[in-house]
Subunit: 254 residues, 2 copies
């Protein structure tokens, strides 16, 4: 059973304003819950569809969450439809606290900086890719998709639980990074070929820009390296998630 | 003006059955039309929103399409909403013929093989990435998203106009490729590290598998090389489009 006020709360969390007010975000699907367990990210409450309790992967999750004393409620088909954001729900929905992220300057060696990534699927995929490559700090400009939008959370596949992600003024950030001798690498359409990129320093930040407009010109001027992925075909650009994957892979494997 | 029967036809093209029947697919947005011009892909008919005719990029497109005698009709806001698939239409919609693709075995040197890629955005992005890397033949298994689904077309950004893309039995295809001494490279979670991949032959095919299940086991057994992208973080997998970008970049730049 789930109360009307809880349904109202959960539904409100698909809207940014209410996420900020409640400091909560929605989690759905078995993979996200298993990453939350792996990373010890606290889940405040879980609702599970009655019909799926026998499912072995759900059962395993519930056993672990019961051990950590997470409140779990069993709900009906009708109820899960009212609280699930996805069309084909896996039958498990939860809420977690939006973390208080410190924006201190104690950066990691490698950073990902995202300038105006507006598509939630792209933002989530970039966080997922960054986590694959061990990037633990991701810094967003204003006008990125909202970090706790359910689509971002779904496509990030749990990256939120492992990373420090925050929004700040990217111009000031780049000035600070330059003072600390970071290489700032911008992914651009007309930079030097990635093959000839030569970074001597282990401290670097990669900037990726908006799907439609690329990196803001004033940010480009802060870049110590402007790189382009060699092209062999006809189209004018790569999707930002593909470009981000290629650049992070190259930077991490040099 | 646009007739009721034309509206009905255009709306029907969001459904695969009617696309196959009419042998037509929908095109939207200025970038797709400019790629169609660049590649000389014939557009059968264009509808443009009255309010956007003064827009310089639309004007430039229309001038070129008029030269090639493509029929162009001007439509109202209400009409464009009835025929557009997107929420924020750029005010230009068209139809093009679904090509008759020969499935002959006169392959290119490099092929991309996609096994059960079910998300339309992923399929389109993979085609776009493949075209960036000059891959001119892409071969799909059954159960991939439909190639001419409007979301696939949009995210492919014009790749359809440059590539030979067809569906076939991948097991038979791999047998044929092996007979022709192609290297078959499978992107997997538990293969050898991409860094140590050594392909002596210039003829290769890359296989990428389903978002949820990876490459079919029976296809994996056909691979001459099984590769994994080195991981530095915690998550269990990369998005298939990021993985595809990284693998194609590596294969093309060796």
């Amino acid at each position: 059973m789930i109360s009307k006020s809880t349904i109202k709360l959960l539904r409100s969390l698909s809207v940014k304003k209410y996420r900020l007010k409640e400091k909560l975000f929605l989690i759905e699907g078995t993979r996200l819950f298993s990453e939350a367990l792996k990373s010890n990210y606290p889940i405040k409450h879980i609702w599970v569809l009655e019909e799926t309790i026998e499912n072995s992967s759900i059962q395993k999750l519930l056993t672990e969450f019961r051990t950590s004393k997470t409140p779990i409620d069993i709900v009906s088909q009708i109820e899960i439809k009212q609280i699930s954001e996805t069309i084909q729900s896996q039958g498990i929905v939860g809420i977690a606290q939006i973390p208080e992220i410190s924006t201190h300057k104690d950066w990691n060696q490698n950073l990902l900086i995202l300038d105006r990534i507006s598509d939630p699927g792209n933002l989530g995929t970039l966080l997922r890719t960054a986590e694959w490559f061990g990037i633990k700090t991701v810094i967003l400009s204003e006008n990125c998709a909202d970090l706790f939008n359910p689509k971002v959370v779904r496509s990030a596949m749990g990256a939120h639980f492992y990373q420090r992600i925050f929004q700040t003024n990217l111009f000031d950030l780049c000035d600070d990074l330059l003072k600390s001798n970071y290489s700032i690498i911008g992914g651009l359409m007309d930079g030097e070929s990635l093959e000839s990129l030569d970074i001597s320093d282990n401290n670097w930040a990669l900037i990726l820009g908006s799907e439609a407009h690329g990196i803001d010109e004033n940010l480009v001027s802060k870049c110590t390296h402007k790189v382009t992925i060699p092209k062999f075909g006809n189209l004018e650009s790569l999707n930002v998630t593909s470009a981000g994957g290629i650049l992070l892979h190259e930077l991490k494997n040099r």
